[in-house]
């Protein structure tokens, strides 16, 4: 069974289908509904036997590279730190097919936003390379 990462982004990706303000500016009941939905997604994936992992990332990013011999690592917050693509977190799922991964990503994207309307958030679906050599 293939594994996929369903990546959520703080920013980056295609033009938002419906722009929305940051969550701390939503009505409190909309915030609750959104968080409850994400909890439900985690539970659903576990119940289906499709869940592998789920993690959230803080929005702080540091780019690091080797500084050369006897030099400290070189760090930067990157080109365009305000606008560049930034991952917020992921679900890792283990599913029957690519189609199922797309179906689940669309379900995550239907999460309720302001006014209880779907967010239509773009979800980045990436297949995880298998570590085991093929058996056929």
């Amino acid at each position: 069974m293939p594994k996929y990462l369903l990546l959520k982004h703080y920013r980056g990706g295609p033009q938002p289908y419906r722009p929305f303000p940051p969550m701390d500016q939503w009505a409190p009941e909309d915030v609750e509904a959104h968080m409850a939905f994400l909890r439900h997604v985690g539970e659903l994936l576990k119940k289906n036997g499709e869940y592998v992992d789920g993690q959230a990332l803080t929005p702080t990013r540091t780019w690091v590279r080797y500084g050369g011999p006897d030099a400290a690592p070189v760090t930067t917050d990157g080109p365009l730190p305000e606008t560049s693509d930034l991952v917020a977190g992921w679900y890792m799922i283990d599913v029957d097919s690519y189609e199922r991964a797309v179906e689940l990503a669309a379900y995550v994207s239907s999460e309720p936003g302001p006014g209880g309307e779907p967010l239509y958030e773009w979800i980045d679906v990436r297949e995880v390379m298998s570590g085991a050599p093929s058996q056929d």
């Binding site: 701390d24 409190p28 915030v31 968080m35 909890r39 959230a56 803080t58």
Partner: protein, 400 residues
């Protein structure tokens, strides 16, 4: 009903034997590293065998099986390095004759040469009697990673003298780290830390050990009210105080009083006193903030430069100042910390609270949102986003 295989096995009692058996092996002259490995194997076997065949003398059983493992390990090594045989035959001098087992082992595990993460894991295994798998679960790392961390820690200790009394302050810090690591996975680390601290108070008269135990008990008592059924954080002022554990509070207060009676105050005793005052209030409005502020004054007086040496204490004091002298005074106190804590979510969260106290909801919403962006824990982040949304909704009435 399904008959569980572990029914009838008192895991707590089994784990309590671990430090005693281990200390016995070390006193007999066994190497700490090898003895600890052998005992871990004996522990795993006990978990497997005892439910069906409970031993008559559990402690002797563990010591015997661990000794057998040590002999086996030695034999296979001897086969490989025959010339080292003589060295094994020579009994080493006993590490120590007197003193309590737990204390001896805590000093080993909290050796200053070890990194804090290693001190914590080694303490949980050698003194707490947890298996590598349980410790790995508690810290969300693979079991192989945790096994590696433990053996590296023990390699660091090899050749160090372990018969000297260690630094009790380090032991206290390590136990507090175990406590604050919380209760992920199957193991309740907070409960484990309390158990270890209780053992420690039996081994030393130091009032700070009792102060630490009291602090843990007085905070742990509020745990049942700290999360709602959906896992959301409930702040102290909104908690259902009927769900606090009054038995734990009573024990915490008793332990704290016996520590304070020695008249050698320290930070854990002072923090426990503050926790006791919170626990003592029947509702948030009855909190004795002037008394809490007085204890915070004592706490910040323990260091020469509290802003840099103990910023958490200064931040806690700022909240108390806000409740006693007014939110504006509290906010001024937090200003001194901007340089040190300005990038931490807690600093922004406290300012959000103080702005709210002052009735400045736009500022409160902005501060909570700043705090949410800096949070490193999902539950806290979600809580801070909610606080921000709540403050902003209150500032702009619904429908606006």
């Amino acid at each position: 009903m399904i008959d569980e295989p572990t029914r009838g096995l008192d895991e707590g009692a089994l784990r309590a034997l671990v430090p005693r058996v281990l200390a016995g092996l070390v006193r007999r002259g066994e190497d700490f590293d090898a003895a600890e490995d052998a005992l871990q194997e004996a522990l795993l076997e006990a978990l497997r065998v005892w439910p069906e065949h409970p031993p008559r003398d559990p402690r002797a059983w563990l010591a015997t099986v661990a000794t057998r493992r040590l002999v086996d390990a030695r034999r296979s090594e001897v086969a490989r390095y025959r010339r080292e045989e003589a060295a094994y035959a020579q009994p080493r001098p006993p590490v120590t004759e007197e003193g309590d087992d737990t204390l001896l082992l805590l000093f080993c595990c909290c050796h200053p040469d070890l990194a804090p993460a290693s001190q914590v894991t080694l303490t949980l295994r050698a003194v707490g009697g947890l298996t590598t798998r349980e410790i790995a679960d508690a810290f969300y790392v693979p079991e192989a990673t945790m096994a590696q961390r433990i053996s590296r820690a023990k390699r660091t200790l090899r050749g160090r003298r372990l018969d000297q009394p260690g630094d009790l302050a380090v032991v206290l810090r390590v136990l507090y780290l175990v406590y604050t690591a919380g209760h992920a996975g199957r193991v309740d680390l907070a409960g484990e830390a309390i158990r270890l601290a209780r053992q420690l108070t039996l081994a030393t008269e130091e009032p700070e050990a009792r102060g630490l135990l009291a602090l843990m008990l007085l905070n742990h008592a509020r745990l049942p009210a700290r999360l709602d059924p959906a896992g959301r954080i409930v702040t102290l002022d909104r908690q259902d105080r009927g769900r606090w554990d009054t038995r734990e509070i009573a024990e915490g207060v008793r332990v704290l009083q016996s520590a304070l009676a020695v008249a050698r105050p320290g930070r854990y005793q002072v923090e426990a006193a503050i926790a006791a005052l919170h626990d003592d209030a029947a509702c948030a409005e009855e909190t004795d903030w002037p008394q809490i502020l007085a204890w915070y004054d004592d706490l910040v007086a323990l260091t020469d430069d509290p802003v840099h040496q103990d910023p958490a204490a200064v931040l806690g004091r700022a909240v108390a100042v806000g409740h006693v002298l007014g939110a504006a005074a509290g906010l001024r106190e937090t200003d001194r910390l901007r340089e040190v804590l300005g990038d931490r979510h807690r600093w922004h969260a406290v300012r959000g609270h103080l702005h709210e106290l002052a009735g400045d909801l736009p500022a409160a919403g902005a501060a909570y949102a700043d705090a949410a962006r800096r949070a490193t824990n999902v539950a806290e982040r979600d809580h801070l986003v909610r606080q921000a949304a709540r403050a902003r909704a209150a500032e702009a009435p619904a429908g606006a």
